[in-house]
Amino acid sequence: MLALDPRSYGNEKSAASLMEEVLILLLGCISNRGYKLTFESPKNDKLALFQHGERAFDHILLLPQKSKGTSSPANVDDFGLPNPGLGPALTPKLLVQFINQNGNILLTLSADYPTPTSISSLLLELDIHLPPDRDSLVVDHFNYDAASASEKHDVLLLPQGSRLRSDVKDYFGGDGTIAFPRAVAQELGNSNPLLAPVLRAKSTAYSYNPKDEADVVEDPFAVGEQISLVSSMQARNSARFTVFGSAEALENKWFDGKVKSVDGKDCKTANREFAKQIAAWTFMELGALKVGRVEHHLSSITGDAAGNDSVAQLGYLNPTIYRVKNEVTFNIEISEYSYDHLSHLKIDPSDALQLEITMLSPYHRLNLIPISQTPNSTTFSSTFKLPDQHGIFSFRVNYKRPFLTNVDIKREVTVRHFAHDEWPRSWEISAGWVWIAGVWITIAGWVAFVGIWLWSEPAYEQSKGKKMQ
C-alpha cells in the first residue's frame, strides 16, 4: 500500500508532522490489519506506480496537497503554474491505468488545500464534479458543530448510516455522528451507474467560496442533498475509488472528538468507525464477493439423494448438453469478504440474486433462492425448465450492485431438440388413432385377400365358360 502525502511537497518536516496528525490513526488501524505502508512524496523522482508494467502497490491513499501559494517561498520554482498537480508519476492517465489494473485509490480532499487540476480532471473523467472555485467549502447553518465552528459553520455534523437504497447493503451505517470539517462538495453525474454517494449533505447545506467577497450566496455550486461529501466509484473491474471530501475528518482531533450540535447536545464523533468503514471498503475488505462452486444438472437426477455430491459421483454434474424443456437445477455458492474472513452472503429480501438463461436475450430471469449456508458461504439455487428453443444458451449470474464487487458468471450449454425417439409415440396421440386403425385394418384386409385369392373356389359355374373365352 502506498500512502501519498503530497503536502510534503518540498517540506519534509511538515510532512512528518502532518503524518502524525492525520495518518497515524487511520493508517494505524489499516496497518494493524496487515498492510505494509510506504510513504512517498510526489516530488520523489523514483516514485512509480508501476514496475515492469505491473502495479507496484495494491492501494493508494492520496492526501491533499499544500497549494503553491501558501508554501514557503523557497519552493516557488514553477510559479507559472499555481498548482501544477501531482507530478509526472501521478498523472490522471497513470491513476486511471492504476484503477484499470485493479488498484484501489482513496483520495482525500480538503477545502484548506486547493485541489490540483490534475485531480479535478481525473474526477471529471469519472463524472465526479468539483466546484470550479478551488477554495470552495460546504457550510450548513442548521447542522454544524457549535463547539468548534460556531461562527463559520463549516464543521458539518451528519448522522452516520444513510442508506443509499433499501436494497443496497449498508456498509457505512451506524448510529454515530460524523464531524465533517471544511469539506469539498462533489456532484455526481447522473448517468454513471458506477458512482454511488456514501455520505450526502443535508438539504440546507450549500457550497460556497469563502474567498469570494460577496456576503450573500447567489449562485451556489451545489445545494442540499445533491452535495456528496464522500463518493465512491467502483470500476467495471471492481477496482475501487473513493473520494473523501474532508481530509481533516480523518485527523486525530476528530477521531474521538466531542462535538456539540446546534441544539446544544454534546456527543462523540463516530469518525473513527466511519473512517474504518471507508478504508475497509475502498481496500476491498468489505463487499468483495467470491464465487465458489457453480453447478448445474438435470433436476431428475438428484432423485432422493441428499446433497449434490451424489450427483457429482454419478458423473451427471455440469453436462455440456441438455434437451429443450429439460428440468435443470442451477446452484451457485457465493461468499462475502468481511474485514478478515469470508462470511456467508446475505441478500436483502428487496434485492435478489438472479439467474438468466440467455441466448442473445434472456429467455428466463429467475431469482436464486438460498438453500444452504456454511459459516463462509451461501449456496443459491433455482430449478427451471429450459425454454423450447434449441441453441447455445448460457446460464448467467450477473450480480452488479452498488458497493459490491461485480459477479458475472457464465456457463455455456448446448440445448438440443428432441431426438426422434424422445417424442410421444403415435398411439399416445388420440388424433392418430384413426390413421393407425386404418393401417392395421388395411393389413388385415390384405392378409384376408391373400388367403381368399390362394384358396377360394370360383363362386359361379358359368364363369368357366366366360373365362374360357
Binding site: 447553518h141 442548521f142 460556531s150 442540499g224 434485492d351 428466463h364 429467475l366 388420440s430 388413432w433 388385415a444
Partner: protein
C-alpha cells in the same frame, strides 16, 4: 443549600429566557405572486406570507406563469442581508429537493422568480404538490430560519411534453422473466376420434361381408394343402411374419433390427411363393379356377 438550589433555578430561568430571546433570522413583507406572461401587473394571484406559518392553499404554477416572491430578510427584527436566502423546493414523496437562491440586496430586500423551466424534471414529474420552504440563515450564532411557506402545485401544460426524464441506469434487481412456452399440440375431442376409428375398423367386416356375399370361400384349402402343404404354409405364414416384423418395427425395433429378418422372411416368401403359386397355376390349368 436551599438557597443555592433557588439560585440555580433562578439562573436556569434567566438562561432559558436568554435563549428564547436569542437572535433569529426571519423576514417581513413577504408576498408571493403568480403572473402569467403578458398579463398586466396585478392580473395574477397574490398572497402575503407570514413568518412561521404556511399558506393553507397550494399555489398553482402553470406552464407560462412566473412565481415571484418578494421579502425583506431580518436578523432580530432589523433588516439585514443573510448569507443564505433560499427557496427550498422538496418533493415529499421522493424526498428529492433543490434550492433556489434569492437575490438579496444590502438592505435585506430579496427577490426570486421561478418558472417551470427552472424546476428539474424529477420535481416537475411529481404527482403531488411540492413543499416550498424559505431558508434564511447566515454565519454566527443567530438562529437560522427554515419553515415551510406554501405548497407548490405544478400544473403541466398538457400540450407540451415533459422534458424527458429518462430513468438513468442503476444497478439493481431486474424484473423476472418467465419464458412463455409454445402451447402443446392438441387433439380433437376423443369421442370424434373414436367414432371415426370405429368407422375405419368397421370397414373390415364390411369388406369381408361383401366378399362372402359375392361368394368368396376357402374351399380349395384342403386341395392346396394336400398337393403342396409346405409351400402354402410357408408362404402364408411368411406373409404374416413380414407383417409381424413391421409391427415390431413400429413398436420397438430400429431399422437395423428390422432389415435382416425382413430379408430372411422375404427370401422364404419368394421361394415358397413360387412353389405355392405354381400349385395355384396347376389348379387354374385343371379348370378348377
Amino acid at each position: 443549600m436551599r438557597l443555592s438550589r433557588q439560585l440555580l433555578s433562578f439562573l436556569l430561568v434567566i438562561y432559558a429566557a436568554s435563549i428564547s430571546v436569542a437572535a433569529t433570522w426571519g423576514f417581513e413583507d413577504a408576498t408571493v405572486s403568480v403572473n402569467k406572461k403578458g398579463a398586466g401587473v396585478g392580473g395574477g394571484f397574490k398572497e402575503k406570507i407570514g413568518e412561521n406559518k404556511a399558506l393553507s392553499k397550494p399555489i398553482a404554477l402553470g406552464a407560462s406563469e412566473t412565481l415571484k416572491i418578494l421579502l425583506t430578510t431580518k436578523e432580530d427584527n432589523k433588516a439585514k442581508r443573510p448569507h443564505q436566502a433560499f427557496l427550498l423546493v422538496k418533493d415529499p414523496q421522493s424526498n428529492l429537493d433543490t434550492s433556489f437562491a434569492f437575490q438579496v440586496k444590502e438592505n435585506g430586500k430579496g427577490k426570486i422568480e421561478l418558472t417551470q423551466k427552472d424546476l428539474p424534471a424529477q420535481l416537475l414529474s411529481s404527482t403531488g404538490p411540492l413543499d416550498a420552504s424559505l431558508v434564511i440563515a447566515s454565519f454566527g450564532s443567530t438562529k437560522p430560519y427554515s419553515v415551510k411557506a406554501f405548497d407548490l402545485a405544478v400544473e403541466l401544460d398538457s400540450g407540451s411534453p415533459l422534458p424527458s426524464s429518462e430513468k438513468p441506469l442503476r444497478y439493481g434487481k431486474l424484473p423476472q422473466i418467465h419464458h412463455i412456452f409454445k402451447s402443446d399440440p392438441n387433439s380433437p375431442p376423443k369421442i370424434i376420434t373414436l367414432i371415426f376409428t370405429a368407422a375405419v375398423v368397421a370397414a373390415l367386416p364390411v369388406l369381408l361381408g361383401a366378399w362372402i356375399s359375392l361368394g368368396a370361400n376357402l374351399n380349395h384349402f384342403s386341395t392346396a394343402f394336400s398337393s403342396s402343404p409346405i409351400p402354402h404354409a410357408l408362404f402364408f405364414c411368411s406373409i404374416l411374419a413380414i407383417e409381424g416384423v413391421f409391427f415390431k418395427y413400429y413398436t420397438s425395433w430400429n431399422l437395423f433390427q428390422t432389415l435382416p429378418p425382413a430379408f430372411g422372411i422375404g427370401l422364404v416368401t419368394f421361394l415358397s411363393g413360387s412353389r405355392a403359386l405354381r400349385e395355384v397355376q396347376g389348379r387354374r390349368l385343371a379348370g378348377l379356377r
